[in-house]
Amino acid sequence: MWHSTKSHDKQVIFCKSTAFLFVQGMGMKLNTSALESHRLVIGTSDELPNGFSTAPSFEIPNTTDFDCFQKEAIQMVKPAKGTTTLAFIFKEGVMVAADSRASMGGYISSQSVKKIIEINPYMLGTMAGGAADCQFWHRNLGVKCRLHELANKRRISVTGASKLLANILYSYRGMGLSVGTMIAGWDETGPGLYYVDSEGGRLKGMRFSVGSGSPYAYGVLDNGYRYDMSVDEAAELARRAIYHATFRDGASGGVASVYHVGANGWKKLSGDDVAELHYNYYPVEPTIVEQVMVET
């Protein structure tokens, strides 16, 4: 997780908000936001010859090397998806788990971040990358899902919801959004799990883990995974995987939350402090010397 510091990314954030206003202003007509690319137009006005307006532009900063300036802003954001989140589909639905640490470089800024976002009562999203980006776009996705439900009198599918998010993220590609999220839910076709990221990628799958602690989580998850587990077994597997990731990865820690998405929607199963989990899995065994000292 990263939090923005005030120095370079003021410009980047400003660009995001004007781009957002432009997208919102389009209203609910034929949604071509997926087909257009909101590229920054450097230095020109908003009007093209025929009276069509382009993506909004803003004053570019007076640097000697504009291209590298933008790259620097993106690089500051990029490597830092310091988190561990995972999700997998099994017989009884989808299990979603995440840690709760937020770090700014080496500083732990919070141990209690909610990284599993409740989009609506039957869909969850996970947060990795920029906290603000993930929170905002998941809220926005929740709005879109609700509007779809109202207009079409049926719930949106997990496929559709993940596609909406992926299209939005694709249209902001290259502008510095940092989002690595999984959309997990249960719809008419059963459990659904998609990985969506800020590069515009979208993958359907049975098991995903995202973040700096994901290699460790994958190790435990892939080892212990079976399709026909019970809810409790799956929850324990998810919890263990997060615990092991927080043990080895410095950017993950805090509380391991585990959610289950079933036919009736999601339910939070547990939220255990990983330090306590450590002593649960590896209880302290007193050495003989200590025992003797205690007895005397």
């Binding site: 034929l30 009198k153 949106i156 599918s157 596609k163 909406l164 299209n167």
Partner: protein
Amino acid sequence: MARYDRAITVFSPDGHLFQVEYALEAVRKGNAAVGVRGTDTVVLGVEKKSTAKLQDSRSVRKIVNLDEHIALACAGLKADARVLINRARIECQSHKLTVEDPVTVEYITRYIAGLQQKYTQSGGVRPFGLSTLIVGFDPYTGVPSLYQTDPSGTFSAWKANATGRNSNSMREFLEKNYKETSGQETLKLAIRALLEVVESGGKNIEVAVMTKEGLRQLDESEIDAVVAEIEAEKAAAEAAKKGPPKET
């Protein structure tokens, strides 16, 4: 009154939008079109004015596909129809692109009606001069539907409806004779309604049947066969009415 019928965006003192009402007049002068919904099929039938000798009749298709599972027939200005149909086709694909699912009949009807409404509330444009009959199957539930839109932008679902020339008599016929049908019976009901106002014969009507598998346009010989069946049934009914009293 005459002063209030120029611009579309001007109400008359008694609450009419005259341009919209004139558009409905244009619809009333258009070809007759009928749609009937059955339990497993939906049938569209359109009156075909006799084609000129040199005209290639295959290029004058009146019942068109919007997507694999949705078809449309209309009455009114055919050029306006072409534009509306193209926009609807694009929207069907755009919907598939953004949510990876085919449109429902209700969704695309709502879209077309919304488009028609937009043109009643903009400056410098006139309304689309056509009413459409939209049929199709819901891709999730497999339920057949029939919807109608009109130039004012309203839409609703129907069990059976008619639009265009003499639509009132066709609708009366349908109201009297409608019952839940399936398959061939639905087809016969639609053709019977159309024959109320159109000269009998395969070359004067165009009929298409939509099932779960897709749209099937009937060719002239098939239509003639069904028409013959209908005529035979009518004759039998007439004979039955006159028959029994003689056997005393």
